[in-house]
Symmetry: C2
Subunit: 163 residues, 2 copies
DNA sequence: GTTAATATGTTATACTATAACCGTCAAGGA
DNA sequence: TCCTTGACGGTTATAGTATAACATATTAAC
């Protein structure tokens, strides 16, 4: 049995404080290396996302920020989230109008998102295979592919078992 | 040279009145076969979508409907669009909060959507290959896949050439 | 024809996102 | 050091997207 990989974590019991601390440490390291400013609001926003393996709406994030003494107006949350997404620390889940912490920041941050329709947990799976397949379909139509977003809906292992 | 396939039409010059009439005829036939009620508003909504190979926002559709003497409040458009989507006559493009007529209603209506970021045209490509790849990724994580939505952003042949 | 279900229209409201403006602060050059 | 500049984070106000709840009208079933 191999140890659980990063992408498997979302769907299995694990020491979650590890995700949180490791995630923050990685982000700080990357920010330093790239000259990005991981300011208090931004850092706290990432922390809020990292606390859960599910996607949070901007207004949900905003509530947490406001409770922690940061601004309580929408732009505060949206700007922090935009920063995190732009720099690969978080992803936007289109189907949910929500955001989730990236499971492996720094690496190629494109991914397939597996969304549980029951418990809303979100996992990232490698994009490679699916992306190649989309690339082939694009080529056939003369479409110049730039970005591909894949969001799958279904049941996570726990919820599938329960059902 | 094969004739252009249904999915190639969006990106190439063609007799577009054909898309419109064929699309409406097919929808009516399918509705009859399945006992669905393709009412005037619904039919007109489909017609509005069929007039363009791009995605239209609900409020954009609503303007057309209102101009044609139908209701002018949001639910009128959303309900008609929901009906079309639920029955495979149209698709929702998450990234654009918009809707587009299905290029091949009646067949398996899942597809990869290729969205031109320049002219907003939308084409459908077969989902088979990409879906298999996503299925493989899901299986590896014990995720029970139900629906997969793939939206690719890039440049259509015309806009790619212009750039 | 009566009844039940479906569909269409309304008003009002909820949810999501951005524009525009201003004060603060840190970095960098005169 | 002082001043300029630009990034940041806070605000108010507003734009854009979507649905709840209710009333009327049409359609389908009996
Ligand atoms: Zn965890
Ligand atoms: Zn679940
Ligand atoms: Zn056409
Ligand atoms: Zn184009």
């Amino acid at each position: 049995m191999a140890l659980p990989t990063e992408t498997e974590r979302a769907f299995h019991a694990h020491d979650h404080s590890h995700c949180l601390h490791e995630g923050l440490a990685r982000a700080e390291e990357l920010a330093r290396a790239r000259g990005l400013r991981l300011t208090p609001v931004r850092r706290r926003t990432l922390e809020i996302l990292l606390r859960e393996h599910r996607a949070l709406g901007a207004y949900e994030v905003l509530e947490h920020l406001a409770a922690d003494g940061f601004g309580r107006q929408p732009p505060v949350a949206y700007r922090a989230l935009d920063f995190l997404v732009a720099n690969g620390f978080a992803h936007r889940i289109q189907r949910l109008n929500a955001f989730t912490a990236c499971a492996h920041p720094g690496e190629d941050h494109q991914a397939v998102f597996l969304i549980c329709r029951e418990c809303q947990s979100v996992a990232e799976a490698p994009l490679d295979g699916p992306r190649d397949a989309v690339e082939a379909a694009s080529d056939a139509l003369g479409f110049r592919l730039e970005r591909v977003s894949i969001e799958a809906l279904g049941l996570c292992p726990q919820c599938a078992q329960a059902a």
